[in-house]
């Protein structure tokens, strides 16, 4: 037992050190970052954070990212719920093929696919809107959401459905009033994964936006190249990208602990 905790602590140190280094950099001036190695800021400065929090071009990026990530998370979970129910409770024509086809959408290498994506969303006048990025990100989040939710749903005994139908519940009423509360743990975990994958995705988000909906990840790359590597501001921006996700994981941590993987996957 002792040995295992020791290993875990060792790994956590390995996991935290680069993040510590980022926090460390975000509190330094650029001269100090590139000047010499120092384990903590010698001349503590909050200028980097001030730059981000006062410049609309910067904090607007966070707002844009949050908007499309939230739209994406809500839509992905909403459409995945009935589908996951269908996969966990019924057999139907082509179910296995459909399931695998959904997964294949995570597998297309982005480089060449970006151009058709741009053309597609431009042609329906959605270019540079939050909804475009949210829809494009559904391509890889929906299959994952279906997959994870299906695991949770298969853990709920089928007798519950049958009893509810005998008691005269219609499907929508049963699904919303009884079934969804039963798998709230699964919804929490799924929402976390959708949030995370949409939050860190760069290529599609950058391709589908220019000004109005430009995400924080794209703003970071632009500023870096233009200002000739403003390390301090970049590190501060990086620190701020962790905050929303850390809040999400804090809220779903107990749900994760309740576990899924109950039935087949």
């Amino acid at each position: 037992m002792k040995k295992r905790s020791f290993g875990l602590i060792l790994y956590l140190i390995f996991a935290i050190l680069p993040i510590y280094w980022m926090v460390n950099m975000s509190l330094k001036t650029n001269e100090e970052i590139t000047g010499a190695l120092s384990l903590w800021p010698q001349h503590l400065t909050f200028d980097n954070f001030r730059t981000i929090l006062t410049d609309p071009a910067w904090y607007g990026g966070y707002i844009n990212s949050l908007i499309y990530v939230l739209i994406n998370t809500v839509l992905s979970v909403a459409v995945a719920l009935p589908a996951a129910y269908a996969f966990s409770r019924y057999e139907f024509l082509g179910d296995k093929h459909l399931f695998f086809w959904l997964l294949t959408n995570r597998m297309s290498p982005p480089a060449v696919f970006l151009l058709p994506f741009f053309q597609l969303y431009s042609s329906i006048n959605l270019f540079d809107t939050h909804i475009a990025v949210a829809l494009a990100h559904m391509l890889f989040n929906v299959p994952l959401a279906v997959w994870i939710l299906e695991g949770f749903m298969s853990g709920v005994p089928r007798e519950i459905d049958e009893t509810a139908y005998i008691d005269g519940y219609s499907f929508p009423r049963f699904f919303i009033r009884i079934f969804i509360p039963l798998i709230s743990a699964g919804i929490g975990v799924t929402a976390f994964f959708c949030f995370m994958f949409s939050w860190v995705e760069l290529l599609l988000a950058r391709t589908l936006t220019s000004v109005e909906a430009k995400p924080i990840v794209a703003i970071m790359t632009r500023t870096v190249s233009a200002a000739g590597m403003d390390w301090g501001v970049l590190a501060a921006a990086g620190v701020l990208t962790i905050v929303p996700g850390a809040l999400v994981i804090y809220f779903v941590r107990n749900y994760i602990a309740k576990g899924f993987a109950m039935g087949r996957v």
């Binding site: 050190l17 680069p18 997964l103 480089a111 290529l203 962790i242 602990a257 576990g259 109950m262």
Partner: protein
């Protein structure tokens, strides 16, 4: 038993529509590119399988593919066992568990380009903690000059970034095992190893399949991190498949060959995932019946 009912299609329909909207048009467009020579917006010549033949003979592509396979194999061989070990070591509940989970998950939330930039500084011998520490230990570590060091840095960076995903999935899977299983094992006097082999591992099969496929796909398409960290160098040491593809598609603007390349790339991932999926789905059929 599941009931056979084709009305279930109605429940799946929203997902199919949403995904098909973003999936089919781009895929068909790429297929279209791959069989044409695009000379200008209105000038296209049908060239059949010409681009596919060209791409298949490209020696640089073979090299990039080799590097890619090695990289993905290393990623899977390290991240999956490490993730399982971490999940086993995590405390089951209490504040220690919450703290460890939040700390563990943090690297997952950092966008890929930030990961690359942070490691760029972190690994530098003069001003980065990791680089300075390694040099201090007497190792001649320099990721910008030495191809082996660059390759290992990308690997360690990926392990740092994504092992928590496996750990979280495995942790969730472990929590779903009923206490009764462990009690039965204790009564039988099963060793720690036997509990892992015959109770925990079979029960983790489902989540590990998700983790394995996700890590395989994402590591096989890794782009941003090595691009930011090393730009594919030194030489070609860290030019993985998707970066080579981007060089072709954007740099040389060879849309036809790049599209053919994309499709081959896609098929490789598809095939590998299908093999993993089928193997793991059928690995332990007895597991399916029980909860």
């Amino acid at each position: 038993m599941k009931t056979y009912n084709n009305k279930a299609w109605l429940l799946v329909l929203p997902v199919v529509l949403c995904v098909a909207f973003s999936a089919i048009v781009p895929l068909m467009t790429v297929v279209n590119y791959s069989v044409q020579d695009i000379l200008g917006p209105d000038q296209k010549v049908f060239v059949g399988t010409e681009w596919f033949k060209l791409v298949m003979r490209d020696p640089e592509l073979h090299e990039a593919l080799g590097r890619q396979i090695l990289f993905s194999a290393a990623v899977l061989a390290i991240e999956i066992p490490l993730g399982i070990l971490l999940a086993l070591a995590l405390p089951a509940q209490g504040w220690r568990s919450s703290l460890a989970l939040v700390l563990l998950a943090m690297p997952l939330l950092i966008p890929q380009n930030v990961v690359g930039t942070i490691w760029q500084i972190y690994g530098r011998g003069d001003i980065g903690l990791a680089g300075a520490a390694l040099n201090g230990l007497g190792l001649d570590y320099n990721y910008t000059g030495d191809s082996m060091d660059a390759w290992l840095t990308v690997l360690v960076m990926d392990i740092w970034h994504w092992t928590p995903l496996i750990a979280l999935l495995a942790f969730a899977g472990l929590r779903a095992i009923p206490e009764a299983y462990y009690q039965a094992a204790r009564i039988d006097g099963a060793s720690r190893l036997a509990v892992f082999r015959f109770i925990q591992l079979p029960k983790l099969r489902g989540v590990l399949l998700i983790g394995l496929l996700l890590r395989f796909m994402d590591s096989f398409m890794i782009y941003t991190e090595p691009f930011v960290l090393t730009g594919g160098g030194p030489g070609n040491a860290t030019t993985f498949l998707s970066q080579y593809l981007t060089q072709k598609a954007v740099g040389q603007f060879d849309l036809g060959p790049a599209a053919a390349f994309s499709l081959i790339y896609f098929l490789i991932i598809l095939l590998a995932c299908f093999v993993f999926y089928s193997l793991l789905q059928n690995a332990g059929p007895t597991e399916k019946a029980e909860h």
